[in-house]
């Protein structure tokens, strides 16, 4: 090698920021906007309690056992969702479909239990217009339930996609993004449950 010729480095430093897939970055940005939505509602609820001395009388009528059971259902569905991703990364189509199906069924079960709860509250005469607590309660849990429904639809689409002739890279990315959304909905409920049912 002649003098003046620079050697090519054997190891090239890559920019880790540029390695983040655009889809993953986009999902996190979307989740950040959702944090603002639910965070705003939660903050308004908390501030209203400070301003008006709490909601003890109304809050006694919520069915915390239903809420606790639904929390168990939702964390289990989070587990099945991440197991679906792990199975997709292992290129195991059968297990991926199985765990996606479990996630969908658990999500539907959550909504059924929520529906039963609402029916009980309506039968006792509690509606969104029954007072500020109930406005917040139905507003926040209703919005969460709509997010759950959207998540179920996404997971159903992923389930159908795994049954077709798609590449594993395609499936893994989309199951990861669907999973991020699903886990976020779980995190929101992790805070909604104690806020509305326990405190």
């Amino acid at each position: 090698m002649s003098a003046g010729v620079e050697s090519i480095p054997l190891v090239v430093e890559t920019d880790r920021l540029r390695e983040i897939p655009i889809g993953r970055m986009a999902i996190w940005w979307f989740l950040a906007s959702e944090i603002l939505v639910f965070g705003g509602l939660i903050t308004a609820f908390v501030l209203y309690q400070f301003a008006h001395g709490g909601f003890a009388a109304d809050a006694e009528h919520v069915k915390w056992r239903f809420g606790a059971f639904n929390t168990l259902v939702l964390v289990t569905s989070s587990m099945t969702m991440i197991m679906a991703l792990a199975s997709a990364r292992a290129n195991d189509r059968r297990r991926t479909r199985m765990f996606l199906l479990f996630t969908i069924l658990l999500g539907c079960f959550f909504l059924c239990v929520k529906g039963l709860e609402y029916r009980g509250e309506f039968s006792e005469g509690f509606y969104p217009s029954s007072g500020m607590f109930w406005s917040f309660y139905f507003g926040m849990t209703g919005l969460h339930a709509l997010h759950m429904l959207a998540g179920i639809v996404i997971n159903l689409m992923l389930f159908i996609a795994t049954g077709r002739d798609n590449t594993w890279e395609f499936l893994q990315r989309r199951i990861e993004y669907g999973g991020l959304y699903w886990h976020f909905v779980d995190v929101v409920w992790i805070f909604l449950f104690p806020l509305l049912y326990l405190t």
């Binding site: 880790r16 920021l17 983040i20 993953r24 970055m25 996190w28 940005w29 989740l31 950040a32 906007s33 944090i35 603002l36 965070g39 705003g40 939660i42 903050t43 908390v46 501030l47 400070f50 301003a51 008006h52 001395g53 915390w64 606790a68 929390t71 168990l72 964390v75 289990t76 989070s78 587990m79 969702m81 991440i82 197991m83 792990a86 199975s87 990364r89 292992a90 999973g179 991020l180 886990h183 976020f184 779980d186 995190v187 992790i190 805070f191 449950f193 104690p194 326990l198 405190t199």
Partner: protein, 106 residues
């Protein structure tokens, strides 16, 4: 050891981690319910219950959403909006508490 075997072990280790996290989430749920049911002073119960919720959320964020492996920019993407509404709450609480104490603004 072949690449397939190493991959299978990695997947099994990953799956075991996810199951363990799920077990912790269930345990923390039960712990929170115990705090709610037991005759504990309200302020202590509220702080404990929400601390437990924060731990559960942290477990899901770090392990199920893989935030612990991600670049700092994704942490900030989540942290900044959370700090924004926290800041809003902390800014407004003193005014609201003051007004409530004086019986103003009803």
């Amino acid at each position: 050891m072949s690449e397939t075997t190493v991959g299978a072990i990695d997947t099994r280790a990953e799956s075991n981690l996810y199951m363990m996290i799920w077990a912790w989430l269930v345990f923390l749920l039960i712990a929170g319910l115990m705090i709610f049911v037991l005759p504990i002073p309200r302020t202590a119960a509220v702080i404990t219950i929400f601390s437990i919720a924060a731990i559960k959320a942290g477990l899901v964020l770090r392990n199920y959403m893989h935030l612990k492996h991600e670049h700092l920019i994704l942490y900030l993407t989540v942290l900044v909006p959370a700090l924004l509404f926290l800041g809003m709450a902390l800014t407004l609480i003193p005014d609201i508490v003051y007004r409530h104490a004086l019986g103003l603004g009803r």
